[in-house]
Subunit: 363 residues, 2 copies
């Protein structure tokens, strides 16, 4: 093991997006990485991408310091048992989005839990597979660690070093607490997004022509891979079902109140909107700090090369740091509205700089 | 009236975000604009912003060519009746997000429908009031027009000229069809977003620390003003209730299937995710064209002034047009991942240009 605690030699079981990304991140730190995947094509691609060497089928030789099991939630326990029988490594971790069920299954199968530290990097992409992998996938992201009561402290230290080496922030919490948290902030919203998007399958062309940024945002994650997600949802069934039922109840009640039509009913629907305001404001802002309160500067931009460069150049000249940026699309026109989030003190300076250079910036 | 059909003199009743924005857009075209609002402070601010002059309380003089009733849905019919009694204008339109109920109420109140052309610009912001107004709010956006059977063609022509003068695209459709469409693509998703956000009011700090871009996107519109929205939702109650019930049913069924836990049940949940994929893919892409299939180039960026400028400059040098841009936040770290959407043929060129300049761009 290197002095900074980063394992000198690891094995990655499963060369999908997450496994290959971990391998790439560690290769950049000089770690020796051995790869294995039951899909030969996926394994070959990961090797080709420089993520490591293929693990020989037969004798493994000296156990690695760490094996990362980057397999779907339902496969974690059997993969762990198999890896431990083969003596692949001294310490094991997984990366599944669900933590309680795989741990329970591992215990039932008789896996050695002292060397196992369940983990979950909160990073992903709408694409999957080794081709989408990148060594910087985990930079600055939270990475949940849910040690079992049996997990040895030395094993936790090795897995924590892995997290840090990938540039992520370790967040230690209980497996059940983890599963409820991700049901609330990820798995539940995912199904809701799909349910809203599913309504659009029956929409006419005219209705689709009236879509704005709101429904685009609400349904963005509905574009994700259903095969990956069904495994996550079924493995975290109860917490996800709890969230979906609560949302379904709120929506059914709102529908019934709207049909009721009385003023009292309207007040109750407004309560839901107010609770929505309150919940939204609890999402932490950029850099994990307090919810952000940036000022937004809007610029109308023609859709041609170089336009954005000139705007960002002007911002640089004004010494203004752009904290966030979005483009509001303009259906049917080669125009967009660029929204630049900046610190409130810098908004006027940026607006003036842009106006002086001929852009239309509302006051 | 000017030669291009743009009214030479209009009255705007209601100086909120939409009314003031319309006034600003027409002032830029040289139209004489008279403003009125029951809230004196709002009116004064709109005048100060250069949106027009205050309409004198007493004698109105020569009727204007057009009066725009920029009031909440519930106030449209009474405002129309009052305006027609005062003889404010030759033609009337409104801008409410709901079309059938105000029209029905106007008919019941005995308004003259021959001079009335209901309208709805599909534009808005998370902020409201005259201070948030901008003359370019409607640029490239759809603007629904729902003429009543009684509406005279000349009246429709005047309102169409208004839409065009504001830079928007007129979309003519039936009031009931409009209301069902916006329930599906705007009002329904709005309540769903609020219901997901409302769940977060009970979330622990740890859960909130695990939030990613997905839940941020799903809940963005939950930050909107509940007072504005309750008026919209109650005026479009039945179509919105239909959408909410359908979504609630899908979610309740998904919850029940997840609790069931059988493989058959999982297949049904996967069906919902697949329907979500299908619905999401129907949302038109930028410029109202086919759903976009841009390639995404990802760049890791330190959070410091000038960094984005240099990246967009490099894109300009490579002759690559950036179609869309988002920044993925990195909680707890001064780093972000910039995602640049470009035409598939330009992705490799851009990636190489950025790599040559020292940025980390995954392959």
């Amino acid at each position: 093991m290197a002095e900074d605690g980063i394992p000198g030699r690891i094995i990655v079981v499963g060369t999908g997006l997450i496994g290959t990304s971990i391998a790439l991140a560690l290769r950049e730190r000089g770690t020796e990485v051995l790869l294995t995947d039951r899909d030969a094509a996926s394994l070959a691609m990961a090797v080709e991408l420089g993520a490591g060497e293929a693990l020989p089928d037969g004798a493994v030789g000296e156990p690695a310091e760490l094996a990362v099991l980057a397999v779907p939630p339902a496969a974690v326990a059997v993969t762990l048992l198999d890896a431990q029988k083969r003596g692949l490594a001294a310490v094991y971790t997984d990366v599944a989005s669900v933590k309680a069920l795989p741990l329970k299954q591992a215990a039932e199968l008789g896996c050695d839990l002292t060397s196992f530290v369940p983990g979950h990097p909160l990073a992903g992409r709408e694409r999957s597979g080794p081709a989408a992998a990148r060594g910087d996938l985990f930079l600055g992201r939270p990475w949940a660690l849910c040690p079992a009561p049996e997990s040895r402290p030395e094993a936790v230290a090795v897995v924590t070093a892995l997290v840090t080496a990938c540039g992520a922030e370790p967040v230690v919490l209980d497996a059940a607490e983890h599963d409820e948290a991700v049901a609330l902030v990820s798995h539940g919203p995912h199904v809701v997004s799909a349910a809203v998007a599913a309504r659009l399958t029956g929409a006419g062309e005219t209705a689709l022509g009236l879509t704005g940024q709101g429904v685009r945002d609400v349904t963005r994650i509905a574009a994700s891979d259903p095969r990956l997600w069904i495994g996550i949802l079924t493995a975290n069934a109860t917490p996800v079902a709890d969230v979906l039922e609560a949302v379904a109840t709120d929506l059914a009640v709102a529908a019934s109140l709207l049909r009721d039509g009385s003023e009292g009913a309207a007040t109750h629907v407004a309560d839901l909107l107010l609770r929505g305001n309150a919940g939204r404001s609890r999402i932490p802002g950029k850099h994990g700090g307090e919810p952000s309160s940036y000022a937004v500067v809007q610029v109308v931009i023609p859709d041609r090369p170089g336009e954005l460069a000139m705007i960002f150049q002007a911002a640089g000249i004004a010494g203004v740091n752009i904290e966030d940026v979005t483009i509001e699309h303009s259906p049917g026109r080669p125009l967009g509205v660029l929204e630049l989030s900046v610190s409130p003190g810098a908004a006027e300076r940026l607006s003036e700089e842009l106006r002086a250079r001929g852009w239309s910036v509302p006051g």
